[in-house]
Structures are given as structure tokens and as C-alpha cells.
């Protein structure tokens, strides 16, 4: 008997116990988690905007951001007190296992579009903690990992520059010259393209440039390979990226420190760094 057949046969008024709570998931609303409550602002219109990001509602987020801008509310305040709070809550729920990858992707998109709206009024890029440049290895089209990194960095308050996929070393060098990033990330899924990382390091050294660290990760990327060259750190999870950037920015850590203190920096046990 299917669930539907069963339901039709049951006298709904007599049902006191919901037997399928687990199957239907948590009844708790995203905004009611204590960790989220702590993050979300009380004041309007920031609360509404942050909730729209939390609930991945791009259309209404854009509408309410435009309305707030029309009302003369500072775009900086909208970003910091509304949009960033919303995305911070999304990251929190993701780490907690309540939200999943697609939530991040949709909420991230809603936030970025809204930030663009604010920046068009501001007339410049909004202030961020710092700039990070992200690329996919030359010869590799797989960019899901890089897109997640962009999302986590932006949620973490960083300006994340997206160089796209199949990025030659020369283009990475140009971007480093242009943006002077505090951190660089490179991702690859194919074993054949992993070698692009050493080319980037060589090209940077040749140009006399240095970055505090280059986070390298992705499907086929091996830690020992990454650690066979200078300047690089093996990145395990996309959501570790803003924490690595924080350590560089706040505690002046460089690639050598990050290799030694990875688990501490990201604040969790990381088996790849266990021995």
C-alpha cells in the first residue's frame, strides 16, 4: 500500500502522532536556530533583507534592496548589516549540516546580485577585508569547486576575483599584479592539469612576485604534490578558504605556517593533516 492510499483510508482527525517527522526533515525554520538568531539583525529593512538571503529569495532581495536604496539608506549599511548577515547565517547552517550545497549556490547568487545593486549606487566596489584571486588550472573546465570557494570567500567578507576556468599562468601573474591579493586559490579536477600549479608558482617567482599563500585543491589534487613546491597550501574543503584568508590577514600567517597549523586555523580536525 502506498503512503497516499494509506492516507486516504485514515481518519485524519484521529491522528495524534506524526510518524514520519524524520523523513520530512526538521520542522525548525532556518531563522529559529540559536546560532542564526545571534547573527540576524533586528532592525528593518536589514532584517527582511537578511532573511531573504537566508531563504535564497533573489527576486525579493533585489526588490527590497532597491527599495532601501531609493529610501536613501546607505549601500554600505545594506551590505554589512543586511546582505552579509544573511550569508553569514547561510554559511553557519551549512557548517551545521542543515543547509546543503545548492542552498549555498542560490543564496550566494542572491547576495552577489544584491551587492552589485548596492555598488552601482555607491559608484565603486564596496570595502572588503581583502582581495583573493581564484582560478581553475589551465586545461581544466571543472569549476564547481572554484565557484564554492568564491561563495565562501564573499560570505566571509572578502572580495573574490573570479578568473574562470582554463586559466594560463600568465593570466594569474597579471591578476596578482593588478589586485595584489592576500591569497590565491587554484583548483583542478583532472590529474593531468594539476601540474599547472607549479607553472603558476614558477611564473610568479620569475616575475618577482610573492603572495602569502596559494591554496590548491580539487578532486585529483594531492597534498604531497602541492607541498613539493613553495608558496602553496593544500586546501581540503572549500569552506576552509575564508578561515585560511583570515589567518593570513589577522595573524600574518604565510604558506609555511598554514601547512603546519592547518587544523588549528580552520578550527576542526582535518585527517589529511593528521600525521
Amino acid at each position: 500500500m502506498s503512503y497516499q492510499d494509506l492516507e486516504e483510508k485514515m481518519n485524519q482527525e484521529k491522528i495524534a502522532i506524526r510518524y514520519n517527522v524524520v523523513a520530512e526533515g526538521a520542522a525548525m525554520k532556518a531563522e529559529d536556530y540559536p546560532e542564526v538568531k545571534e547573527i540576524l539583525p533586528e532592525e528593518e529593512p536589514f532584517r527582511t533583507i537578511s532573511l531573504e538571503i537566508l531563504y535564497e529569495d533573489k527576486i525579493n532581495a533585489l526588490k527590497d534592496v532597491k527599495k532601501a536604496l531609493d529610501e536613501g539608506i546607505s549601500p554600505i549599511e545594506i551590505i554589512n548589516n543586511g546582505l552579509m548577515k544573511g550569508i553569514d547565517a547561510v554559511s553557519t547552517l551549512y557548517t551545521k549540516g542543515v543547509y546543503f550545497l545548492p542552498d549555498l549556490m542560490l543564496a550566494g547568487d542572491a547576495m552577489m546580485e544584491s551587492v552589485k545593486e548596492c555598488e552601482s549606487v555607491l559608484g565603486r566596489k564596496s570595502d572588503t577585508k581583502g582581495t583573493v584571486v581564484c582560478f581553475v588550472a589551465e586545461g581544466d573546465p571543472h569549476d564547481i569547486g572554484k565557484n564554492l570557494i568564491l561563495m565562501f570567500l564573499r560570505a566571509g567578507g572578502y572580495e573574490a576575483i573570479d578568473l574562470g576556468r582554463d586559466v594560463p599562468a600568465a593570466k594569474v601573474v597579471e591578476a596578482v599584479k593588478e589586485y595584489d591579493p592576500i591569497f590565491l586559490t587554484g583548483t583542478a579536477l583532472m590529474t593531468t592539469t594539476m601540474t599547472a600549479f607549479s607553472k603558476v608558482v614558477d611564473a610568479l617567482e620569475e616575475a618577482g612576485l610573492e603572495v602569502p599563500a596559494i591554496g590548491c585543491g580539487g578532486g585529483a589534487v594531492r597534498k604531497d604534490y602541492v607541498e613539493s613546491m613553495p608558496m602553496t597550501v593544500y586546501g581540503v574543503e572549500a569552506y576552509h578558504t575564508p578561515k585560511l584568508a583570515d589567518a593570513i590577514l589577522n595573524d600574518n600567517k604565510n604558506w609555511e605556517d598554514l601547512r603546519k597549523e592547518y587544523s588549528d586555523v580552520v578550527g576542526e580536525f582535518v585527517s589529511e593533516y593528521a600525521s
Binding site: 550545497l101 565557484n147 586559466v167
Partner: protein, 534 residues
Amino acid sequence: MTAEYAIAIDIGTSGIRAQSYDLTNDKTISTAITLRHPLPGANVVDHLHFALEVGRNKANELLIDAINKVIGSLEVDNVKRLSVCGNPIQLSLFNNIEIRDLAFWGENALKEHDITPPSRKSKILKASQLGLDIPGEADILIPPAIKHEIGADALAMLYKSDALNKDEDSLIIDFGTNAEMALIVEGEIYTASAAAGPAIEGQTIEKGRLASPNTICDIEKEDNYWRMKVLNDDLMVVDGDLINPRTGDTIQKGDIEAKGITGTGVIAAFSLGIEDDIIKEGKVNDRIYLQDDIYLTQNDISNIGKALGAFRAAELTLCESSEIYLDEIDSVYMAGASGFYVDAIKSMKIGQIPTSSDEIYQIGNTSLAMAHDIAINPDLLDELQGIADDIESNHIMLATSEIFEKIYSLELSIYEENMPFWMYKEWLGKYGFQDIPPLNENPKIHKLFDRDIANEGEKPIQTVDISNTMNASFDNCIYCMKCVDNCPENALSLSGDGFHLRSDLCSGLGCLRCMTNCSEKAFKYNKFYNKGSE
């Protein structure tokens, strides 16, 4: 007049399969297979990577050497012609042409490395040009690729399924580490290649092995227990033990020992695990216990899950791109050895093939079957080139498809983050994609042969040893044996002060556990092949 013979060879990522035929009556004389590929690696990208490292010539030499061993075991002389089939990487390695265009994606990489993609049209060479151990004037027949990465293997599954000549919508899938797919909708062909990963062939699974004697290849439920189905020395399926999968207790002993589990066995365990609630939301509490200390871990479940997810996400992407619903597909063709041996119902239940599949054809190894057709009738090569030219295939590059990115992220959420399936379905709706149709309880399954290779001939199938050993020794080595102990394939051994690596067993540059576990950082993998080329 002495009899004349032809040979057909399928160069697969997980092994070589070959047959010989008597040209006077077209009868199959002998069949030989290898259980490994001669190049190190667990998948075709590993083979490619290795070939880039050692150089095309060395890789070609290893492959030709293995093929010659296979040819030798077919025991036919007076060979008039030999035909091959395989994916573009294997066929390019075989006739030693440019491979780098298959190793990198994108304009920038091609420009940077100064790569000109070669022609992969059908061609006829002479045996002497390739160093094959058959008469030098024998013709070597190489079928065309449809274009770039859609190779002769994809052409083979289209050709042998005959789906192009039928007036119905069909989905054809070649089951392998790279799952080639073609969806035919009203005569229009949509293709994609899903990087399912080596778990499909039992690799990257802790106790996994390629299909070979003493491997669990299927599992069936008996009362509340699981009956192991194990391959015997003739690669036929026989009953193994009856096991309680939660505890590993043997309820009833079978007649055969198990030493590992194949990809199809893993899929069976995965499907039954879900059915019996041992796997919940992509997670297993402890392990799934099978016969003779074979088990599956959470990591194994996650690996096979992501591989299955790549199938489902690719199928959905094809359907969304061609604007057809999954349940509108009339026929599903499962090609390749794994597609033949896997239980089609279990494959359906876990979404590897559409849950709504109605007519299912398990057509076996179509690459060898097409190579056979070419060997018997060389004129077919022109016809195949014609078909390849006419296929205006709409190729969907999954890595750059937004639809695939969205759906695959849902698959990752299930298998890496334990997202429940109802949420997966909800997300499909949110994205405006079609829903997963309900399970068809009564599909019709058509399986024409006992084995994935039809007509194996009078002689039993020969399993050919293609072992090839490369040697190296390392400065600063303290002989702690960590490299040898950590090799998952037992490919590495030590005698005296020299290490010996079996290239056919080695998982290659995607693994390198020998090197990463070296406490002295003395182990250098590339010393094996640099020395070998001296």
C-alpha cells in the same frame, strides 16, 4: 589453401579483449582477455597522464607489447587483418598519435602547449607500421571517432544497439569509468560523457577488484539474508555464502571463496543496503559485511554513490537539454561489461539507469562486437565513417553545463553531506527541472547472451598475463617497507636493494601511496620509467 584469420581487439580502460576468426566460415576460433591495462592507472585519465609523463612512444610500446602477448595467446597464424575499437585515448595510444588534445581542455591550454588535434577518422595501416606480431602486410583497421572525445566506442554502442534505425526515443549508456551516453530523441542525437569514476569498476573501493575469478559480482536476497554471487575461474556466476550483512555472520557456506568485490557487486550491495535500511541517507553506520571478510565502508558507499550520481545527473542533463521527460524514453541500452553483469533492476532502483525504464537491453561489449564486424567485413569501415560524419551530435560538455552543475551538486549533497532524497526532489522542482519518475515495477529486460562477449569460440577464454615489471632503487632508502605495505594493488616488491613495480597492477599517478608514505622522502616514482627508457 591454408585458412586465413582475422583478429578483433577491444582496448578497454580496464583490460584488453580479443578474438580470432576463421575467414573461410567467419567462425570464432579463440578469445583472450587481460584483467588489467598495461599502463599504470585506475582510469583512462591516469593512463593519459602516465603517457604524458613517459612520452607517447614509451606508452605505445607498453600497450603494443601487451597486445602482442594477447595476440600470441589467440594461437592463430596467417592473420590477414586486425581491427580495433576503444575510446579515443586508447586508440590514439595504439596508433601513436597526438594525445595531448585529449589531456587538456580549453583554448588556452591547447595554445600554451602548441597542440594541434590530429585527425581521428577511420584509417587502414599495415601491421609492420605498428610493430604487431602478425604478418607485416596485414591490414590494421581503425574505426573513426564521431568527434574529439566521442570515440569509436560510442560509435560502437550506437551502431550495435541499432537504435539509430528504430523509430523510438532511446538512451544508450556505455558503463565504465567514463560513462558515454547518447540520447536519441526523434532522430536527433544528444551525447555526453560522465566522469563516473573508477568506483564503477570496483576500483577506489577498499575491497574492490575488476571482474575476475573469486570476486563478488552480484548479491541476491534470500529471506532476510544476502546470497553472494561469485565469479568462478570461467567467469561464470556461482552461489557463494549466505551472509547477514549487518554482522558478517555466515548463515550458509557456499562453494566458492571470495577475494574481492566488483563494481557490479558494489552496486548490488548499495541497492540492497538501501532496501534493507542499512544505508540511510547515503550513510552506513558501521560497515556492510559480505563473504570472507569482504566489506564496504562509509567511504566506499560515498565513492560509489558519487559515481552513480554522475550517471543520474548526466541522464537528467541530457533529458533537460533535449526537452524530454525521463519516462518518455522507450528503450534503454546498457553496453559494456559492467552494464551487462549488473542486475538491471538494482541499477534502476538506485537511479543508475532511469527508474522509469521499460524496455531494457543488456547488449554487452559493443566495442569488441563492432571490431568483430569490421574484421569480418573491412568495407564496414567506410560505412562507419559515413555514419560518424552524418551524426550531427549535440554534444553536451557536462563540465561546463549549468544544468549539470546544479544537478550534480544535489548528488554531492546526498553522498557527501547526507541530504535526504526528498530534499533532492524538492530542489529539482525549485530549479524548474523534471522530477524523478516513480519506479517501474515491471520492466522488460532483454539479455541475449550468457556473457558480455558473445560467441567466445570453441576454446575456453584465455586470461593473458601481461605483467610488465619496471625496476628502480632509491638513494637514502632505509628499507622500512612503508611503500610496499601501503600499495593497495600489491604492485610493488623489493629484492636486494631494488624495487620492482608491476605497471599493469599499479594504480599510477592518481594513487602514489608508495611515494606519499615514504618517511624519508626517498621514493621517486618517476625513477621507474626514466630508468626503463635508458
